[in-house]
Symmetry: C2
Amino acid sequence: MTTTAGGRARQPVDIRPEAPAPGEPRFVAELTPRVDEAIRAALARYTLPARLREAVEYSVLGGGKRLRPLLAMLSCRAVGADDRLADSSAVAVELIHAFSLVHDDLPAMDDDSLRRGLPTTHVRFGEAMGILAGDAMLSLAFQVLTDAAPDAALAGRLCAELAQGTTGMIAGQVYDTLGGFPPGLTPRQHLDLIHHNKTGALITASCRMGALAGLWPRADHPHLAALTAYGNAVGLMFQIVDDLLDVEQTTEQLGKRAGKDEQAGKLTFPGLLGVAESRVEVDRLRSIAHAALAPMAPDAAGLADLCEYLAVRTK
Amino acid sequence: MTTTAGGRARQPVDIRPEAPAPGEPRFVAELTPRVDEAIRAALARYTLPARLREAVEYSVLGGGKRLRPLLAMLSCRAVGADDRLADSSAVAVELIHAFSLVHDDLPAMDDDSLRRGLPTTHVRFGEAMGILAGDAMLSLAFQVLTDAAPDAALAGRLCAELAQGTTGMIAGQVYDTLGGFPPGLTPRQHLDLIHHNKTGALITASCRMGALAGLWPRADHPHLAALTAYGNAVGLMFQIVDDLLDVEQTTEQLGKRAGKDEQAGKLTFPGLLGVAESRVEVDRLRSIAHAALAPMAPDAAGLADLCEYLAVRTK
């Protein structure tokens, strides 16, 4: 805990008292190459058919915000540990995220041909490889977690978190694209159920995995619950911002097709609440996220910055 | 180790000295309903969108030989433990197997509309759900393993085995359908590489997981290596018999489209070695499998029977 000259403990909202800069926080440039390096090193450990390796590397090393790995690493920092302890968790959550994008882009799903300004995996490698590369990334995520763990019990715990986050994400995708909601819910409850699962589950898992890796073997530490609350708030906030960007930005700015939610008649926050109310919801979640970090300041400064960055991001 | 009245240790090939009956061994009828029950109980623990649950249950409870769960349960018995210790492993390997069938049947893959005499999952539920239900089963397999484990370290170890088996299976499917072999291999080496991965990896993982669940925490016990050897032999044998059935049986007998390997121009054992030589290879692997079980007789009687059953199966 950093204290001022007068000895008064800092409040978490004071970590970054100025308005956030529109650009990326410092740690993005610092940690993002570490994520790529960790992914490369992890994949290099496995014997894979040449074309499968190429498709997996294309899918997972083709850029992206690396949000989930950053959350894992910064959550590890937030509990006062060296963020390198979260490296395998960071790789695992990015493999899961990349798998989900590859399968979501398939012709039978969103049928997207463009991702981060490049041809999607199935366009580049064929549809069969799109399916198989996605499957391989899902499986490799668990392999990376278990092979690299210094402790089998930690590996088991991390696999539990990752599996829960992944199943939640897939369930959310089903709700979003195919429905199947429990009866009697309002549209707003549908929307919350979609996003709590589709984006929220893996984002929360990323925070929890980073926290567990850093806290281990103190798995019942209250910081774990605090980072779960942070993850839940940031996950929903991230999705609302994503919905807002889809309405407000062009395809060129996003690097992927814009306006597709509206074209697809999808339930979104701006569609349901309007743009202004959605922005209010973003601010509410932002406050919840900051409050959750309070007991971990100043180690949680990175997560506080990341929350600000995600609230104002433009792509 | 059972001994005869004269005190001489039995040889493993003597466990079942008569020619095997063409029907199923006793334990198939005993254990198969247990597998279904364990799968139902495991799936009941999770909240899933209604339509996703329906598709997952349709895919994993629609019959099948339950080979991999039986291998897990009987391997657990073979190391002298109660086979209920292998229940979550049995569920997990069957979920992985079922996921692989659902994705293999997709239009962009084998494009099959019939499986076990019923419409394939994507024909019944649509292609998007075929992709998502497969993904969900893959993820649920790890969730089942970690949620049900009495010990996080055992869960970590089981996840490692399952992930290795699953990635191997996917790599084998890539070799089989899309190639990408390392340079300089003979056709026979291609075939071995396909089957060692495509069928062998998950079958061996099933044996190892059952053994680990039974032996835990004695994970370095020599029985684990013996059951790995058994799994490798039975896995390859199973695939050669599968290839032979595809040549020799009708669609009606198999409950899935026959002759498709030849139509697809696939590399198979009968195609490469001829039918007679393939049968010789089956017998060779059968002997290896029985030899591997020797140190575990009579607890390994179930695995010995299963090996015989697999060697002479007609579907």
